[in-house]
């Protein structure tokens, strides 16, 4: 089976975020592979170990993003590709990714490389958009299942489990297909030092849009961030007064309306 894994480098969940002004954000220089992508990589490696084939990891990102590909190599990926181009800089920034542009690039990569199965994370931990995987499947016109918690390969198809809305479904999906990984799918392994050292020395090549025959006008910001805010970290308390029933109703209203927390 020829498996592609899409991985993304995102700011570390502990990284500090600052608003420089209302139209730019600064994120501390600490990056990691998005958590759900680590599950996708692990699943790809397990499928390969069981059924044979190859695992190729792909990321769209600037040079620093090569690190997540190194991690994939260290974990056992057979090959990796970093896609980058000046034209991508405005749509893939430290803080925001234009999902459609990235999906177009990834669909082109997938066609270029060929595949039986694509795995990616359920969502990237920076924007939580959960869009790139689905969009890529749409562009490739292949079936997809998101947020899978178990994967079993069969002849020409794949059987997955998906937990959604409190129900568990078992789904059969014909290949080629795209799956996105949900928490609980597996426990990612730690890489072997031997492979880590090899990966550390590996040269990670970048492919540009021309190599993928992507027209520059396919890359546009369909969604544009215009301003940012960083919520004040110090909490300031609002005491809600009134009889229990009234106070409770008011609390529910404010949690909903002010914080969308319910």
């Amino acid at each position: 089976m020829k498996i592609l894994v899409f991985v993304k480098q995102v700011p570390d969940t502990e990284a500090l975020v600052e608003a420089l002004d209302d139209s730019s954000l600064k994120v501390e220089e600490k990056f990691e592979m998005s958590f759900f992508d680590t599950l996708a990589v692990e699943e790809a490696l397990r499928l390969k170990e069981k059924h044979g084939g190859t695992v190729t990891a792909v990321t769209v990102g600037p040079e620093r993003a090569g690190e997540v590909l190194r991690t994939c190599l260290a974990l056992g990926a057979d090959s990796v590709f970093r896609i980058w181009d000046e034209a991508l800089a405005p749509v893939v920034t430290d803080v925001f990714t234009d999902s459609l542009s990235v999906a177009r690039v990834l669909a082109a990569v997938a066609k270029h490389l060929g595949f039986d199965l694509i795995l990616c994370g359920k969502q990237a931990l920076d924007d939580d958009a959960a869009a790139v995987g689905v969009m890529t499947a749409a562009l490739l016109e292949i079936p997809f299942v998101t947020a899978v918690t178990s994967v079993k390969a069969e002849e020409g198809s794949i059987r997955v489990k998906q937990k959604r809305d409190g129900a568990e479904r078992e789904i059969k999906c014909e290949l080629p297909a795209l799956l996105s990984a949900e928490k609980g799918l597996n426990e990612p392994r730690q890489p072997q030092v031997m492979k880590v050292m090899k990966a550390a020395r590996a040269k990670i090549d970048a492919m540009d849009l021309a190599a993928l025959k992507i027209q520059a006008d396919a890359i546009i910001s369909t969604v544009k961030p215009v301003s940012f805010t960083v919520p004040d970290k110090a909490r300031s308390i609002s005491i809600i007064e009134g009889e229990p029933a009234d106070a409770a109703a008011e609390l529910v209203r404010r949690l909903r309306e002010e914080r969308q927390a319910l």
Partner: protein
């Protein structure tokens, strides 16, 4: 020329989901400001006729599979409430029509004649306001309670039946409701309801359990019960539930500290929670310094009232 704003109407046994009803309620207003006509897509006949009370044009997709496609050709905007289905369907529709997609928005409005949306980013550490590239379909989902649900304005829209495109290559073999168990480890809750010595006894944690269950049903998210060390030491609750420096560090979207005084050891464990609600009978309890919302009162009265308020909201 696309001239319609479609609302994707999700239903459960013919009953329109509350978040879909909220979006339906807002649809005409937004469509009006954009110079569009509000319309809807439903996959259930009852839901379609209910939707037709809100908008004048309803497409009833029959035999819809997992991904009810495609995007109607006259769609300028597609709106849906956030849901797992919307997370699959909307990006799909957007990609297939070269449209703009933004999911799980926390605000959506028209400014200077164009749509503008807000959504949190970087795990809630920041929020952004977004605009869309003109002359393309805009596909957006909004979270629950961004819009208020209102009664239908009494339109009687036309319903057009249309067969859904079959989703190819996908077959649902089984779907098991019994797997439903939203009780999760305290570190995994989207919402954590934690209790302390102010609850007075182990038995009284039943009111927290009930609140947790109600929250799980109302939000569809994962809800966990947590505890202060004082009540773990008193053996009212198991150690697995202890929140704090010597217990577990949690980072839920919403944290309730009920009858918990708020000592630093506890606070160190909830530092990364997004919204903290404190309920305590002592107005000077330190927990109020670390909370966003507070109710001063007896937990045993406030919590049942809160459970009721969530049920009836």
């Amino acid at each position: 020329m696309p001239d319609k704003l479609y609302v994707i109407v999700e239903s459960n046994g013919g009953e329109i989901r509350s978040v879909s009803r909220e979006v339906l309620s807002a649809a005409r207003g937004i469509a009006g400001e954009l110079g569009l006509t509000a319309a809807a897509v439903a996959t259930n006949a009852d839901a379609a006729s209910e939707a037709a009370k809100y908008v004048t044009h309803v497409v009833h997709l029959t035999n819809a599979g997992l991904i009810p496609t495609p995007l109607p050709e006259d769609a300028a905007v597609v709106l849906a409430g956030s849901s797992p289905l919307a997370r699959d369907l909307l990006p799909y529709l957007a990609a297939a029509s070269a449209g703009c997609y933004l999911g799980d928005c926390t605000a959506l409005r028209v400014e200077a004649g164009v749509l503008v949306a807000e959504r949190p980013m970087l795990g809630g550490k920041a929020a952004g306001t977004f605009a869309f590239e003109p002359d393309r379909p805009i596909v957006v989902s909004v979270r629950a309670h961004v819009f208020a649900a209102s009664d239908p304005p009494g339109v009687s829209g036309e319903i057009i039946e249309q067969a859904a495109v079959e989703s190819k290559g996908i077959e649902v073999l089984s779907s098991d409701r019994a797997a439903e168990d939203r009780r999760v480890d305290v570190t995994e809750g989207d919402i954590v309801v934690a209790g302390g010595r102010g609850l007075k006894s182990a038995d009284n944690f039943a009111v927290l359990e009930e609140l947790a269950g109600t929250l799980a049903n109302a939000t569809g998210g994962a809800v966990a019960v947590g505890a202060s060390r004082a009540v773990v030491d008193a053996k009212w609750r198991p150690y697995e539930e202890q929140v704090g420096k010597s217990g577990k560090s949690v980072a839920p979207k919403l944290y309730f500290a009920v009858g918990i005084s708020g000592q630093i050891h506890h606070i160190l464990g909830i530092d990364r929670a997004q919204v903290v609600v404190a309920i305590n009978s002592d107005p000077d309890a330190p927990i109020f310094k670390y909370a966003d919302y507070g109710i001063v009162g007896d937990a045993l009265q406030v919590i049942p009232a809160l459970t009721e308020a969530i049920k009836s909201a």
